[in-house]
């Protein structure tokens, strides 16, 4: 019906090089697991302060050296900048804290540095999904009435349940539906060695089998874990990064915003948008998927991991269950470890920001315990609705 659908915009891509290269020099997070059990006493702004404080310490940078701040998920006058001693920051931008926010804010940060406008940029995401009992169900608004909500089709999980069921039928995999369990099982195993993850206990096949359906065919462990927390990242120009302790390189970034017709349902299970953005990010970085040591995938629901593997070209369409081999391929120690901090399912749902912090840890080689991927030098982050970035050693 919609003739616009034939027109494809190219992903907006940046690959800053040499003098204008962009480095990630500091990461900081709140303790997601510690904040999870009870109503936490920190405001969304406090959580941002905690994460930024740690990121600045990590980078060895004074707050006054930061010349731009990009904040996702924080509204209102940013009085918390004063708490940090950043009341005279050059540029401040508040952004919507959606699943696109990490790719969007990091693209902005990279552009400021690549253009020479900024030398040190702080990006932060903060949310109190658990304490505030944030409702992710989709009712629509005055601007966009969603007719299917009248029938109760009003949750993002239902849209992914529909895509997964369609996928299983299309590829003749209905009798292998339970192999999806490998995704939450592997990610929970990864989260066990992440000291700040929400879920640090393993999930067994039996646990998964006994778990209740939320919207069938998806079960509770297939859903992400909304929690309280903040993630901060400090970016620096190449000359300024050279004075910091452990810079890594933001080699390339590609942004693509694909809005579906019915909420989250895409007829191609989002693989087309992923394919286009990953292709742009990899080619801009001058690498191929075979060079990627760790894949971080935005996983609000577990089928997305399989769709993203196919979109990223790890295997053909309909082959993801074969590819993951009940988790053997995507666990640490396998050929393509995925979501090594536990991802949105197990570390906690922070709109993809936790994935980027984990990418930096892996490239630095500072990830401890069973989650550490030896000799990791290239990480690819994939956002499910479009967007990708490549993080490498400097």
């Amino acid at each position: 019906l919609n003739s616009n659908s034939a027109v494809r915009a190219a992903p907006v891509t940046l690959s800053p090089k040499s003098e204008r290269a962009v480095h990630i020099v500091g990461i900081g997070t709140s303790d997601f697991g510690q904040l999870f059990p009870d109503q936490n006493r920190y405001s969304t702004e406090d959580l941002a302060v905690l994460a930024i404080r740690e990121a600045l310490q990590d980078a060895g940078i004074r707050p006054q050296s930061v010349d731009s701040v990009l904040a996702a998920g924080l509204r209102g006058v940013p009085r918390w900048l004063k708490t940090l001693g950043m009341e005279e920051v050059g540029h401040f931008s508040a952004q919507y804290g959606s699943g696109h926010s990490s790719v969007n804010a990091i693209m902005d940060a990279a552009c400021y540095i690549a253009a020479g406008a900024s030398d040190i940029v702080c990006c932060v995401f903060s949310a109190r999904y658990r304490t505030d009992r944030t409702n992710f169900d989709v009712l629509g608004s005055e601007e966009s009435f969603r007719p299917w909500t009248l029938y109760g089709m009003a949750s993002p999980g239902a849209s992914y349940a529909a895509m997964w069921n369609s996928y299983l039928t299309t590829y003749g995999l209905v009798d292998r539906a339970d192999e999806l369990a490998a995704v939450p099982i592997v990610q929970r195993a990864h989260a066990a060695s992440n000291p700040r993850a929400v879920f640090r206990t393993p999930l067994s096949l039996d646990d998964y089998a006994k778990a209740p359906y939320i919207v069938e065919p998806l079960k509770r462990p297939d859903y992400c874990t909304p929690a309280d927390g903040a993630v901060a990242l400090i970016f620096a120009s190449a000359p300024r990064a050279s004075a910091t302790r452990h810079p890594v390189s933001l080699r390339s970034i590609a942004c693509l915003c694909c809005l579906p017709d019915i909420d989250f349902i895409q007829l191609d299970y989002e693989r087309g948008a992923i394919k286009r953005s990953v292709a742009m990010a990899l080619s801009a970085a001058g690498i191929s998927l075979a060079d990627v040591d760790v894949l971080q995938i935005y996983d609000h629901f577990s089928p997305v991991v399989l769709f993203a593997l196919e979109g990223a070209g790890a295997c053909g369409y309909g082959e993801a269950l074969d590819f993951i081999r009940r988790g053997e391929t995507i666990k640490v120690g396998g050929p393509l470890p995925v979501n090594t901090a536990g991802g949105n399912l197990a570390e906690g749902y922070f709109q993809g920001w936790g994935h980027v912090a984990e990418a930096v840890r892996q490239v630095r080689g500072e990830r401890a315990g069973a989650g550490a991927v030896p000799d990791c030098s290239v990480v690819l982050y994939v956002a499910s609705t479009g967007g990708a970035m490549v993080i490498t050693e400097v």
Binding site: N4, P147, G152, S166, P212
Partner: protein, 134 residues
């Protein structure tokens, strides 16, 4: 928040048509485009000379889901008591619509089956299996 509270303007019109058992689409008099998602603007040419029309009501089941837990909306969804099944239909005009399948057909409503909007019920449209094609 109840669905009633949010449907104003074009959304309220769409809702009213649905509650009369019609599956509404919009047509553009400037470029002849037809679309489903309620909008004050034609998605093809951005024109605003647009009018309601009725979809064919025919399509095939693209997927289906079973709600074991109701979304956090305050009104009873028209899907029924949990667990309730909803089908995602790829309509002949090539848009997706989500609704319930008529009770007598629910056991046979497999993905790929042909369905059509039931015309005889009051209230929201629901789908029947389309036996003309089966």
């Amino acid at each position: 928040m109840q669905p009633e509270a949010i449907a104003s303007g074009i959304g309220r019109e769409c809702r009213g048509l649905l509650e009369n058992g019609m599956l509404p689409i919009q047509i553009c008099h400037e470029c002849e485009a037809k679309w489903f998602r309620p909008s004050n603007f034609c998605p093809a040419c951005l024109g605003s000379d647009i009018e309601w029309s009725e979809a064919s009501g025919r399509g095939r089941i693209w997927s289906k889901v079973v709600f074991h837990r109701r979304p956090r909306i305050s009104t009873q969804p028209a899907g029924g008591e949990e667990p309730y099944e909803l089908i995602v239909v790829r309509m002949d005009e090539d848009f997706l619509f989500v609704a319930r399948i008529a009770k007598q057909d629910s056991g046979r409503a497999t993905i790929g089956a042909y369905v059509r909007i039931a015309k005889d019920g009051a209230g929201l449209p629901e789908f029947n299996l389309n036996s003309d094609i089966l």
